[in-house]
């Protein structure tokens, strides 16, 4: 029996205020099933446990049941989820910026999952890039709302009117319609019995399943249950972020932030990336960086760039809520074993962008494998691992592109060059907008990092950038000279 100090308690065992307090009890680990067995397939009546009803869990369940129906297979799927996505405040929210990328919007629509107006609080048709050297609006060439701004819960603690449906609730509903059953509760114990996984939801008796899909994200201490099971699983490395929600009201948002996502490339130490995303009545502020703390947030909110895009009456400390969730930065090497598969954030996700899009891709690949290829470690290696590898390999290129962004963030003349080139492109109709499309895809996460990187190697892009860099450096050095001459 293994009984660690519950996460979220201090050394004396006192509970902290975190939502995530839970007592982990792993019990005796029984015999593991043999790897690669041919018998490891789903059959009529097979039981599947999906731990976590966030995007990964719901999408997995939906496609598992949809594909099983196509091949005439009857499955019993239980989604185990402690949150209630119909309740405002942290109990109903899976903490995120809420941007549904262009590619995910399109993929879901092609799959028949259209996001209704009650879920998409605002269609986003442009990005506003703010730097100390100026701001530029990058619009979609089609003048179309191609990105969705949603919230993961129905609203923050102080929500005035429950106008919107949570994105996670919408997806969960779709999986229930497809035949999944939701068990409200938190999994606190996992074991093996007769070569099958056994899952216990807090306060209930353990249940035996044929397959367990783990979709717990990276913000749950419950992942420990699997780290000590002997599957070779280690949770992804992650870093702390910050999200704040502000109430501004729909009319004020329309007038100020509009239908643009506001992205900030500011030379603030420890700040990697910041965005302000307009929703229905609220705006979300997301900060990514090193050791995010109040001092960093204060510095950011007081910059003229932030003050300039928020309404004049806005007060940075008048927030509706704040959370500091972790974001995965390095995926898991082997997100599967016999009868167990790790999907979404707790498996492999995209670096910094389009995490929900990655959850859709990994969850569907896992569901497809389970239905068509089996549930053995070998089946997941063949059918599931390639989808994870594609994302993980692309993240390596992503790291290089983010490094380049960091250089721009730190170098004033580079920022000026980016601004100049983008502004010029946005003013000209009918021309290839090379810098704009690179920035658009970097911010929106709509294209693989490899695609973006290759586009930056195009001679026309390099030529345009070199020219802009040159024209950004020359005036500065000329100015210095004249200043020097005056002295």
């Amino acid at each position: 029996m293994w009984n660690p100090r519950p996460v979220g308690t201090d050394t004396k065992g006192n509970m902290s205020s975190t939502d995530w307090v839970e007592t982990l009890d792993l019990g005796e680990i029984a015999e593991m099933p043999a790897a690669g067995s041919d018998a490891l397939t789903l059959v009529d009546g097979s039981r599947v446990a999906v731990i976590g009803g966030g995007p990964a869990g719901s999408i997995f369940s939906y496609f598992l049941l949809e594909m099983a129906t196509r091949v005439g297979l009857e499955l019993n799927v239980d989604i185990i989820e402690p949150r209630d996505f119909e309740r405002p405040a942290p109990i109903g929210c899976n903490m995120c910026g809420g941007i549904i990328s262009e590619s995910l919007v399109q993929n879901l629509a092609t799959e028949g999952i259209n996001l209704p107006g009650k879920v998409v609080q605002r269609g986003i048709d442009s990005y506003m890039l703010h730097m100390d050297v100026g701001s530029v609006r990058i619009a979609t060439p089609l003048q179309e709302m191609r990105i969705g701004a949603v919230t993961r819960g129905p609203g923050p603690r102080d929500v005035k009117e429950m106008k919107w449906e949570s994105f996670d609730h919408h997806l969960l509903k779709r999986s229930i319609e497809a035949g999944a059953k939701v068990v409200q509760g938190r999994v606190d114990h996992v074991d093996w019995t007769d070569g099958r996984p056994q899952v216990r939801t807090k306060g209930n008796l353990p249940e035996t399943y044929d397959l367990v899909a783990v979709a717990m994200g990276v913000n749950s201490p419950g992942l420990k249950l699997f780290e000590t099971l002997g599957l070779g699983y280690e949770r992804p490395s992650s870093t702390k972020t910050l999200i704040r929600e502000y109430y501004l009201g729909e009319e004020v948002i329309n007038r100020t932030l509009g239908s643009s996502m506001h992205v900030f490339l500011l030379d603030i130490p420890r700040l990697e990336f910041a965005a302000i995303i307009p929703k229905g009545d609220y705006v979300s502020m997301c900060l990514l960086g090193e050791d995010i703390d109040n001092a960093l947030v204060e510095e950011f909110v007081n910059t003229p760039e932030v003050q300039g895009c928020m309404p004049p009456e806005w007060k940075a400390d008048a927030r509706s809520c704040q959370c500091m969730p972790r974001i995965a930065v390095q995926g898991v090497k082997k997100p599967f074993a016999d009868r167990v598969v790790f999907i979404g954030d707790c498996g492999v996700t995209r670096l910094y962008k389009d995490g929900i899009g990655a959850a859709y891709r990994t969850s569907k690949a896992a569901a497809r494998t389970a239905v068509f290829e089996g549930i053995s470690e070998e089946a997941f290696r063949q059918g599931y691992l390639p989808a994870c590898r594609t994302i993980a390999n692309d993240n390596l290129i992503g790291k290089v592109t983010f490094l380049a962004t960091r250089v721009i963030q730190k170098t004033r003349f580079a920022r000026r060059a980016v601004l100049r080139m983008t502004k010029k492109e946005q003013q000209k109709e009918g021309h290839r907008r090379r810098m704009s499309s690179v920035l658009w895809d970097m911010f929106s996460g709509s294209a693989p990092y490899k695609d973006i990187f290759l586009r930056t190697l195009h001679p026309a892009f390099l030529g345009g950038l070199s020219w802009s860099l040159l024209t950004s450096v020359i005036p500065a050095s000329k100015k210095k000279k004249t200043e020097g001459a005056k002295k």
């Binding site: 919007v105 399109q106 629509a109 092609t110 259209n114 107006g117 709302m145 690949a365």
Partner: protein, 123 residues
């Protein structure tokens, strides 16, 4: 208008794509209705009226042929464009994304077969 917040709004009678155009995208209706119209020697034939949630213009994604029909908003409609590049990238990674398109196409073949039978019976 009610319905999705995504896509582009087309006013009543506004053309989404025209027959004969080169196509690099397909469409999913987010709200409202869209007429599918074939034009021949200056005459229009209404093929059908597509509803919210329907996929349209998928033939242009698979064939290098000009659009076979005009898509026109019937009343105000909201339509989302699906890029060929994004779709092809995804189909390469996950061919099952085409299940629904195959379903749509087979449904249309069935409708057309019924139409031929009906026309032959009328003769």
């Amino acid at each position: 208008m009610s319905g999705g917040a995504l896509g582009k709004v087309y006013q009543d009678g506004e053309i989404i794509v025209r027959q004969g155009d080169h196509g690099e995208s397909m469409f999913v209706i987010q709200a409202g209705q869209v007429e599918v119209v074939a034009e021949r020697e200056g005459e229009e034939t209404l093929l059908r009226v597509a509803q919210a949630g329907e996929l349209l213009g998928e033939m242009a994604i698979f064939e290098k042929q000009p659009r076979s029909a005009t898509l026109r908003a019937l009343g105000e409609a909201k339509v989302l464009t699906i890029d060929k590049k994004n779709f092809m990238r995804r189909i390469n990674e996950d061919p099952t994304i085409a299940f629904r398109i195959l379903e749509t196409m087979s449904h249309r073949v069935r409708e057309l077969s019924n139409e031929i039978v009906r026309l032959k019976a009328e003769k």
